[in-house]
């Protein structure tokens, strides 16, 4: 059972409008008028307005969850529209959290939708989580997943989490004191160990299935009905169309919920950098980079931060491969330039190069630039729009 605010335990009666809107819920013995009033008083925070967060938030709003917060610092991209069903083509370029909240308010004006267009981090997670009764995790970074899990354990918040990859999804719930947390399932994962949806691809409807499961779990936990996914991980395979369920136990040695925890406060993942740092990164457009390379090719050092398999498929001439996870974990040093390229130029000459960071769409190279500026103090440039933009503007034959 989720600890609920007093307003949830002694709800006011529903209005005539609410009775009409939620008539199908009122017919369910498990919900009824008192359950619907509880949903109205509930406050749910959805982390990530992406593939999972969009359907989860849509169903929570439609179900009448009274307050829904959405945390996402990102902006809508064209490639999001294949699965992020809160957005339309007109939203491209707009802040996800704000557009998502506008859409939720249009769907159900009785819902209070609160946008948090900021990056969740150790410094703000307590304040952002504080007003909410339950957290739905739909983030797309493993570091954020651990931050959310640890914060839920430390601050006593129920959590419904899910993750996706190609045609497969996983979901589990956590309620403080009632079973294992996400770290009990997967104790530690280094950033970059797992491919993202951008790298691996994802069936557009897959997060619709998992996000809907998350909304179901959230409603069940808020109403204390049914059997939640506690101590179980649900695995869905869309290709074979099967659900499997596995029992998992709390690990006494778990770093955050175990008997002798070593994590006592939320932690930022290795290599964390703020959005403000990323905003300050100087950019270069593909056409500008092409012209600069034609003018003075030795003045620039192209650093491609994609994974080795992506680099092997196609890369710009002269680029060297230094994957982002390595920069996040170990930092970036001058030896990365020399070793990776086999170059034997004197150190001073290499240091004079301006580093241009490159990735597929621009997100990873932006993080790399911010980190290298901060930790190595180097002059950097980021190829805006990444190799996708390069292919568009300079070389349509680039086989990404």
């Amino acid at each position: 059972m989720v600890a609920r605010p007093a307003s949830v335990d002694s709800p006011a009666a529903l209005s005539a409008d609410e009775r009409q809107r939620y008539a199908r819920h009122l017919s369910l013995a498990e919900i009824g008028e008192s359950g619907q009033a509880r949903l109205r008083a509930a406050r749910v925070l959805v982390v990530g307005a992406g593939g999972l967060g969009c359907p989860a938030a849509l169903y929570l709003a439609a179900a009448g969850v009274g307050t829904i917060g959405l945390v996402d610092f990102d902006r809508v991209e064209e490639s999001n529209l294949q699965r992020q069903v809160l957005f339309t083509s007109e939203d491209v370029g707009e802040l996800k959290a704000e557009r998502a909240c506008a859409r939720l308010a249009a769907l159900n004006p009785q819902v209070r939708a609160i946008a948090h267009p900021i990056e969740l981090c150790a410094a703000n997670v307590r304040e952002i989580f504080a007003p909410y009764d339950l957290i739905v995790d739909g983030s797309d970074r493993i570091g954020t997943r651990y931050l959310v899990n640890d914060a839920c354990v430390l601050f006593g918040k129920p959590l419904v989490s899910a993750a996706i990859h190609r045609f497969e999804g996983q979901a589990m719930s956590y309620v403080p004191g009632r079973g294992p947390c996400y770290r009990c399932l997967f104790p530690q994962i280094a950033e970059g160990t797992l491919p993202s949806c951008a790298q691996a691809g994802v069936l557009g409807v897959l997060p619709g299935v998992l996000g809907s499961l998350q909304a179901t779990e959230a409603i069940k936990l808020l109403l204390d009905i049914g059997t939640p996914l506690l101590g179980r991980v649900l695995v869905y395979d869309g290709l074979s169309m099967r659900f499997d369920e596995f029992r998992i136990a709390r690990r006494p040695e778990c770093a955050v919920c175990g008997d002798q925890p070593s994590i006592h406060a939320p932690q930022d993942p290795p290599g964390f950098c703020t959005i403000e740092e990323q905003r300050r990164v100087p950019r270069i457009l593909p056409a500008e980079l092409a012209a600069a390379l034609a003018r003075a090719p030795t003045g620039l050092r192209l650093i491609d931060v994609r994974e080795p398999d992506e680099f092997a498929r196609a890369h710009l001439p002269g680029a060297i491969n230094v994957p982002l996870p390595g920069i996040e974990q170990q930092g970036f040093s001058l030896s990365d330039e020399g070793l990776a390229s086999g170059e034997d130029a004197p150190r001073g000459e290499r240091a004079a190069h301006r580093l241009v960071f490159i990735c597929r769409s621009g997100a990873r190279s932006l993080r790399a630039c911010a980190l290298v500026r901060r930790t190595a103090g180097r002059e950097v440039l980021q190829l805006e729009g990444g190799l996708l933009a390069w292919r568009e503007a300079v070389d349509p034959t680039l086989a990404l």
């Binding site: 993750a163 996706i164 045609f167 797992l194």
Partner: protein, 87 residues
């Protein structure tokens, strides 16, 4: 032969197959046979110290296996679970 269900991120090693077969009386033997059939897949799950990697969970007949010496019966399916990060 034991039926082995492959997690999505590991299917690059099995040419996309979600279910394969492998032989072995213990989990260690089964994973060794799996690696003979699909080279490289074992190292993605088991580290140099012969420990199951922290982003991998292995279930034998839906029960979690933490020890590679665990016996595996031919009729018990093995599920290889891998953490996913996409959202």
């Amino acid at each position: 032969m034991t039926e082995v269900h492959i997690a999505s991120p590991l299917r690059d090693y099995t040419q996309g197959a979600s279910t394969v077969r492998a032989d072995g009386a213990t989990l260690a033997q089964l994973l060794a046979d799996l690696d003979r059939r699909y080279p490289g897949i074992r190292f993605r799950m088991i580290d140099e110290q012969q420990r199951i990697r922290p982003h991998i969970r292995i279930f034998v007949a839906a029960r979690e296996a933490r020890d590679l010496a665990q016996p595996v019966a031919a009729r018990e399916p093995v599920h290889l679970l891998c953490a996913l990060s996409g959202g």
